[in-house]
Symmetry: C2
Subunit: 337 residues, 2 copies
């Protein structure tokens, strides 16, 4: 096979060697090259059969240019949104990302983590709660830097998370302003983050002078159960006038349960979610929710990780970064009649 | 740190060395050890701080024990279901899986593929349509074996896919038996698989003596557009009595559009999907659909891949494996009134 060089690509595309080099070898988002030029170079390279090596820069610097991510569940709509943002943030720093899907299995997560730690990954991101304490403790001495996003707050590594209590306060302030004082809670209490939201929920209701009703607090391990349990709650005589859901996915199950019972939302019942997944804006009616800023969580984590990799940040000094949630008012909450 | 051996773990757990070795080092699903014994060994190992190395066997055999998967979109509910099944099938063969998320970007897919080809991955699986022809052509000479699942049928590698035409026939036979002869089509025609389904749809309708109405064929690039376009179709005077959707996700958008217009499903309108994603059984009403057997696709692909890795199968001889779809009748289809 003839050895095609970037000089051939430059000649064919009618641009300078430097431009070809920038398009083919650099993924630094700060270098501005017009999309038209970029496409011309890439097309010329492809037509000539030039072997693009985007990791040339990484190899020169003795780094792989690849970070690893381990995600609890790619089916979780918020975590998969977060994965997409983490990958975008990594691309903006000129790094590629490969990931492991733990699928709720601690042994799988440990194997993937073990493998990434012992190979050529420059840094790792853990996304969602993973039970990998023992391996993380051992990896502190050696191995690449690791950052956790929305993980277990007791992990011995730097954390990036949303201010859960603040998010619950935003939701409750909104519902209380609308005249609701009998408010239910729906969430999967297996997750540490949801337990934190429940504590904040109870504390803040009491702080506002309302007594949380234990029979209105629903624990559901999956969205089928969330549907069933919210249906049962809406049917009971002392049903609350509003429901706070610790995830949008569960809020969508609760909306389906209301539909099923011919209850109108928001006229008969207000429902508020948490996360702001893609489906939230798209549900019928569109869901009022507390937005976890996925992009900000991702950028914060990747900024930390690249700082640790470059040695410009010290892992000890960065134990926890908290980003602010935001209330997104759509059409599932209204004044209590 | 004291060096903990498996003898220490065996003594603590009160089992034989061989049992500890099997639990800790082997992930061969064919070796039966009781869950109780397994947990006892794992707990003893953890309490003693034994460093589990699940890849010891792989290292001995000069293999990494890891396969790579590149997926078009982890947000696609069918592809993410497929990823889970591929990982399970890999685990059953004692292999771990790491993946790249192409996120519809051919350059990202090429970089991830390039990286996996040039590193220690034993084999690769491409999931969904990825535009990586040029790199695949070059990797045929060297590099690990690669299998594609539900990908572009023109790829120069062994393929595993569902019999799309058969799936369309199952759906149309069902609708025609229920008395429907004005049937619409909704899908994202950017995808090759959907274009195949549309061809089969038109051909089979004609074969059955009906003329497909071009104005009833809807192309939508995302589920928001799918909602809008199906709403517009349901509102028009000559609306079809049934809609065939080339994916369950779009069928769910169409159901929401029907709800929005106060049309009753299946009384006023029959809707049928394709894929059988988790949400299909859970929708309101539960969705009638054509099941793509994700588990069978995954097992077929991993069986091929491990055969290629072991050298017991020849990649040339295995150009295409087709699995049979299945009609799942739920509650969104009924007799035309």
């Amino acid at each position: 096979m003839v050895n095609i060089t970037i000089a051939d690509v430059a000649a064919k595309a009618g641009v300078s060697l430097a431009t070809v080099s920038r398009v083919l070898n650099s993924r630094d988002g700060s270098i501005k090259i017009s999309e038209k030029t970029k496409q011309k170079v890439l097309q010329s390279a492809q037509e000539l059969g030039y072997q693009i090596n985007p990791f040339a820069a990484a190899l020169r610097s003795k780094r792989s240019g690849v970070i690893g991510a381990i995600i609890r569940d790619i089916h979780d709509p918020f975590l998969s949104l977060l994965v997409r943002e983490v990958q975008k943030a990594a691309h903006d720093k000129g790094m590629e990302m490969l990931m492991g899907h733990a699928d709720y299995d601690a042994h799988t997560a440990e194997r993937q983590l073990h493998f990434m730690i012992n190979h050529w990954f420059d840094g790792l991101v853990l996304i969602g709660n993973l039970s990998t304490h023992s391996l993380l403790e051992r990896s502190k001495q050696s191995g690449p830097p690791i950052v956790s996003i929305t993980g277990d707050s007791s992990l011995p590594i730097p954390q990036v998370r949303t201010d859960d209590a603040k998010g619950v306060h935003l939701a409750l302030d909104h519902l209380i302003e609308l005249g609701h004082h009998s408010i239910g809670f729906l969430g999967n209490l297996e997750h540490g983050g949801v337990r934190t939201r429940l504590r904040a929920f109870k504390d803040y209701l009491q702080h506002c002078g309302f007594e949380p009703d234990e029979s209105h607090i629903l624990d559901a391990r999956d969205r089928f159960t969330a549907f069933e349990r919210s249906k049962a709650l809406f049917e009971c005589r002392k049903a609350p006038s509003a429901l706070f859901c610790a995830s949008d996915q569960y809020a969508l199950s609760a909306i389906r349960a209301a539909w099923y019972l011919n209850k109108r939302i928001p006229d008969d019942l207000s429902i508020i979610g948490f996360d702001d997944i893609e489906e939230a804006a798209d549900s019928f009616p569109p869901l009022t929710t507390v937005k976890q800023p996925a992009r900000e969580l991702a950028i914060t984590a990747i900024d930390l990780l690249t700082g640790f990799i470059d040695g410009t940040l010290d892992t000890i000094a960065q134990s926890e970064s908290v980003v602010e949630p935001q209330l997104i008012i759509r059409q599932t909450t209204a004044t209590r009649v």
